[in-house]
Subunit: 439 residues, 2 copies
């Protein structure tokens, strides 16, 4: 994986660290979200596995090094630095919350400790990988919550921010509780259930809608799902019903979903197809689904695309990656940024989770009773430690973790007061000492 | 490139077309945006080159075919279909607007004509590629417009929807008028200028801010840009000024940018550094930049990250890919979708651009005088035709095209009335005939 997939300043800084003789210094960075987007009460961590995959495989090719040497920013940099890039491997340690963990602002999703160059260069990739998947897993958890036990399938690759974003959106949405995805590559790569039968173009490509339906049934048998809104939804439902079993059901993609679902349910039931399902799609989100569920509309499952794969009401959540400690020449220095509105808390941290609230303390602290330490070692000395959970295991863990969270925090609206996060006495003391000492 | 990076239903439909003996039918699909997001008066086409790259290289591997055969949706599909996937190549024709073309709702960005399977499978990838880059190029054009001639650099990879999205966001932002990007891989891959010097962690990693600045100047010489808000912005400006030349300037990343820019300008000027520049970054967008420019704040250049790389006020624009014609057994059939709110217009189209307005007509029409036909052949029989413009050429074309657009449509707010798009008499006639004939 290309080490050039990063902001240029990571590489100029790397050159600067090398020139300043700081390559032996060991940095600790924390990746976290500063504040929650509107209407969120938690974020759901995801993307760790792709972050680890990157750290295992990040390399500079000779062509890439040649490119860097041609940039004016590197004209004063000695050849030794480029040799260091040739030999570049990630050899550090990573501590992280499991994928599927609900987290809160300021809590590290991941803590990385490595020689300064190895810690700096991955910043951009780690933020984009973990930030994006966490964003989508969080959005999925909201939509699944709204659906109240009905199946939600992720359909958004076409509107995702590039085809690759679609692949990762499908994975993250599954971790967040979706039943599966329409993205076939996501299905194959991560062992995630895939869904999909036919689009409007299928119906349009046959001389009549009935012929299109007949062909679909021949192909898919009991998985057949008829898309019934190409011409006239109720007429489509009648045509589908006329073909009888085998079928899974029908899909509504436009119009007044409440009224149509009721009318279509009647058509199916009157044809004796009481076990046929109704799926709804078409610019849905958690609020629209909440309303559909509240009306009692007979909809069995939801497909959500654009708004899920882009987290469209909150397409970013300001994840950051901040230096908190630096070990140089045998001594440790704590660091933080104290600029207005963007200050950070110094020192490596641990999240101690009690039922219903968290204490963020220093990584060196022990809270033995009644709590769980959420950050666990996942990589030591550049090698994976322990089991790498599958997407399915992460999804299961997310489900269990969300069920343990007091229900009010799973609301689609902001809780007041928010989930309680306190800093430990030791962390407060360190912060105060840092601020006093800072020039 | 993996043909599995698509919605499963494209593949089930492909199997269905194969089973129905429709592989010889030739389909024409159009990719377009249904309506403009809020406050937009145009979209700026981008992403075509990656779409063509995909069409040139899309393949099924044996492993992927094996995966498909294991899915229940393919259990009834004969082996012949999988042989067709093994031999799958895109052999069709593509007509498209040049990257950098301002376009309007309903106007095809791309028209694809190919045997049904080859036209159906790419839908998802094409939408995600062209949809996303068009979204970002459009957003960039707005931000560049707001900056009124000052340089805008794209800094958003860390907040992009996956690292790959960051690579394409950097490319699209450049086409939209940005001066360059922070994404190094984008720079190397597409020959785009790259920018970046140092982050807060650089400053924090040295015992004092002054030492960090001195080291940066040693490294970068005349490109040196001091990030001055890690501890105290004005103190940072004084420290930077104390080091004198060579330097490019300073960067402000927080606080009241208007007040700080003025105070920092004074500090630099009083140190005789009247040619030192001030760059502003930190959660900027087109509206904030418009306001900063209006106040006359002495800011020379802007770095925009999150809001640009995610088009955060409009993270999608509903691009669709619709079947408009089908040639089967020697006869042509026009198709459209007539479902409520989502109807489409049948028949392959051409965009005839007159000064200040467009006529969308049938692809077979000729409008000889005073207009330009915007859709040109870019691929015939699966092979590229003509020159593939570089990102830099696309950027130049965008600049010229936007300059030709009446200025009111470059406003950051919605124009009323919108840009005038008319359908030709032939296209209106075809639409009416289709609606009358449709069962």
């Amino acid at each position: 994986m290309s080490a050039l997939l990063t902001d240029l300043y990571q590489l100029t800084m790397a050159a600067g660290y090398w020139c300043a003789g700081k390559t032996g210094e060991v940095a600790t960075f924390e990746l976290f979200v500063r504040r929650l987007p509107p209407n969120r009460n938690f974020i759901l961590a995801a993307g760790l596995d792709q972050a680890l995959e990157y750290l295992l495989n990040v390399r500079f090719t000779e062509e890439e090094i040649l490119y860097l040497k041609g940039l004016p920013q590197f004209h004063r940099v000695p050849e030794g630095f480029f040799d260091a890039l040739r030999a570049f491997r990630f050899t550090g340690d990573v501590f992280a919350a499991r994928e599927g963990t609900p987290l809160f602002p300021g809590e590290p999703i991941l803590t990385l400790r490595a020689p300064l160059l190895e810690a700096q260069i991955p910043e951009t990739f780690l933020l984009a990988t973990i930030g994006f998947q966490t964003l989508i897993a969080t959005k999925a958890a909201r939509i699944v919550e709204a659906a109240g036990g009905r199946s939600v399938v992720e359909f958004g690759t076409r509107r995702a921010h590039s085809p690759d974003a679609g692949v990762y959106a499908g994975r993250a949405a599954y971790i967040g509780g979706c039943t599966g995805t329409s993205n076939t590559l996501t299905g194959m790569r991560y062992g995630i259930p895939v869904f999909g039968t036919a689009a409007h173009s299928w119906v349009q490509s046959f001389p009549t809608e009935l012929e299109a339906y007949q062909r679909l049934q021949d192909l898919l048998g009991p998985a057949t799902t008829y898309l019934i809104d190409t011409y006239d939804t109720l007429e489509g439902a009648r045509r589908a019903a006329s073909l009888g079993r085998p079928m899974w059901g029908v899909r509504l993609d436009s119009g007044n979903l409440v009224e149509l679902a009721r009318a279509v349910r009647t058509i199916l039931d009157e044809a004796g197809l009481t076990d046929a399902k109704i799926m709804a799609t078409g610019d849905l989100n958690e609020y629209k689904i909440l309303e559909l569920v509240a009306t009692g509309a007979p909809i069995d499952s939801y497909g959500v695309g654009t708004e899920l794969a882009t987290s469209s009401d909150a397409p970013s959540h300001g994840a950051v990656y901040k230096l908190v400690e630096l070990d140089a020449n045998g001594s440790r220095r704590f660091t933080a940024k104290i600029s207005p509105d963007k200050s950070t808390v110094p020192g490596a941290k641990q999240i101690f989770r009690y039922p219903g609230h968290d204490i963020v303390g220093r990584a060196s602290e022990c809270f033995l009773q009644g709590c769980e330490a959420m950050l666990r070692p996942v990589m030591l000395g550049g090698e994976i430690v322990g089991h790498r959970p599958t997407a399915s295991e992460a999804r299961q863990y997310a489900r269990e973790s969300l069920d343990r969270l007091p229900k009010k925090y799973r609301s689609l609206f902001e809780c007041d007061p928010p989930y309680r996060i306190e800093h430990s006495a030791e962390l407060i003391q360190l912060t105060e000492e840092f601020r006093r000492s800072e020039r």
